[in-house]
Amino acid sequence: MANTAADMTKTEIARQTGHPLLKRILYYKYFYLLLIPAIIYYIIFAYYPMYGSILAFKDFNYAKGILHSPWAGMKYFDKIFNDTMFLKSFANTLIISLGRIAFEFPVPILLAVLINEVARTRLKRFLQTVYTFPHFLSWIVVSGIISNILSDAGILNQVITVLGGQKVNLLTDPKIFRGLLYLTDNWKEAGWGTIIYLAAIAGISPDLYEAAEIDGAKRFQLMRHITWPAIRSVTGILLILTIGSIMNGGFDQILNMYNPIVYNVSDIIDTYIYRRTFVTGMDFSSSTAIGLFKSVINVILLYTSNFIVRKINNEGIF
């Protein structure tokens, strides 16, 4: 039943492609009009500054500015790729981001589905509101609370010693630190993440549930055949966007939670740059080179994941 714009395309486009290009453009004239402010915005604030990327290939000279500084070829890329700490941070970035996709990405979805199963409206609203609270606190504050709980003098250890056990030092244990990152990030952000999924679920017509129930569908079948398809497309889009930002890794959280003992498992590219900037003052060309490297990888990941998701879901971002 072709009743959405998405489905419409197959028939409409078939109709339209018969028309000459100019006529199609005229047909959509208002849409182009609507896009003008956004395009201007992107050109000014996103595309124009991109000329700065060439700094990665230049020796920056303050007096000459970015455009007229002398060329340096691949010098800065050689520098960073020979920097073992950078390479380590690169590896950590990949590992942690993949970990987040595995252990954090599905959580808001599951949570949204579970919330949706709650019958009482007021409880549902209450839960959904309350779950978003931790999102409003910054990582500076949340990591302080986590520290109060997990530190040697913290609440957890107090409880453990009262029960007769041995103290644990979770914050400084490289073996579990990444897991701690995933857990605490879920604590802070999963609730917020449910919003978009619940918004998608809100669009499901109740009649569908009714009809299915009358036909004898059980709860889990309802979830699979009605709830899930509604959020499938949002999930696909968010997955693409998440994969496309793998190189970011969660700077804010890690910066506030990590400590020197766990650097080797949690230092990501951004935290590495941050430390270098503060202590030795990393030069502009190096940081631009790293930024460029990150961007290129992000773009590759973006296109790849878009391609894959489109194959599965029949739609991607583009």
Partner: protein, 298 residues
């Protein structure tokens, strides 16, 4: 969020009980950080340090709030944040709704190119200096609007909204078009009202983002009357031990920085978070009001 008719099912299964218990436990965990922040903000230093685990307030001391609320920056910072959030979110939504609808028609020539144009910006970051120079060139240095204009569109949100628009039933527009309406009228009178849940959602996202903004302020604003609340918060919460601990100047730097007692730090966290928390439930009402008529792809 509400499927009102579902409450028709009267049988409560075991699943429901476990589900609700589990979810309530999660609710407790979610409230806990705020609870903790709150009790520390009204706690006396001696009380907190005497007890090994400070979970229940032994006395309420509001002096931290007196200090915070009488600080000379707080009122102006609050007004700045308020303005930036309201004007910023409005600006964001204007740009985003227009662009999202503009990109929502699959038949439109050049759409893929435009989409690429838009999405590419999410992943390509050219660095601090050129961005700074661009903003400077526009004349936004030290202006409140630097927290609004350069942040005009969040591409992530744009894509989400675009997808929602694309999924709307074609019938909505078709009937209006037959009556002679043009696309802009359709957007304004039909699309937007029907998309209430997504509009409310994205408005919320943008509002929270604008309320939390500090980075642009830090980089571009030097007049302290134009600082948003989050800047004031960061100044108070900034933990320098990360950057100081390993340098020879540690002791000197440490003596220069004012280290605020925990109660004041927590008080300012509360003051910064409460306004946005008050707004949120109001927006939530609109989530539930929306009657979206999208149907589901099989």
């Amino acid at each position: 969020m509400v499927n009102a008719k579902r409450t028709k099912r009267k049988r409560i299964e075991l699943f429901d009980i476990i589900n609700v218990l589990f979810l309530c436990m999660l609710a407790f965990i979610s409230i806990f950080p705020f609870y903790y922040v709150l009790i520390i903000s009204v706690a006396k230093f001696e009380d907190v340090s005497k007890q090994l685990i400070y979970l229940f307030p032994t006395s309420i001391d509001l002096s931290a709030y007196k200090v915070v609320l009488s600080g000379d920056n707080i009122l102006s910072a609050f007004m700045v944040s308020l303005f930036v959030t309201a004007a910023g979110a409005a600006f964001n939504m204007l740009l985003t709704i227009m662009a999202a609808y503009g990109l929502s028609k699959k038949g439109m020539p050049g759409r893929n190119a435009l989409l690429t144009f838009v999405v590419f910006t999410m992943f390509f970051n050219a660095g601090l200096i050129p961005y700074y120079l661009t903003v400077k060139g526009i004349g936004l240095i030290n202006s409140i609007f630097v927290m609004i204009i350069p942040l005009g569109i969040n591409t992530f949100y744009l894509i989400i909204m675009k997808n929602f628009f694309t999924a709307l039933p074609h019938s909505l527009e078709e009937s209006a078009k037959i009556d002679g309406a043009n696309d802009i009228y359709i957007l304004y009178k039909i699309i937007i009202p029907t998309s209430a849940p997504i509009i409310a959602t994205i408005t919320l996202f943008y509002s929270v983002d604008r309320w939390n903004e500090w980075w642009h302020a830090m980089l571009f604003i030097t007049d302290k009357e134009k600082f948003p609340l989050q800047m004031v918060l960061r100044e108070i919460l900034f933990d320098f031990s990360q950057t100081l601990g390993n340098s020879m100047g540690a002791s000197i730097r440490a003596s220069r920085i004012n280290i605020y007692p925990r109660s004041i730090q927590m008080a300012i966290v509360v003051v910064t978070a409460v306004p946005i928390l008050l707004v949120y439930p109001f927006l939530q009402k609109h989530f539930t009001k929306g009657i979206m008529l999208g149907s589901i792809k099989e």
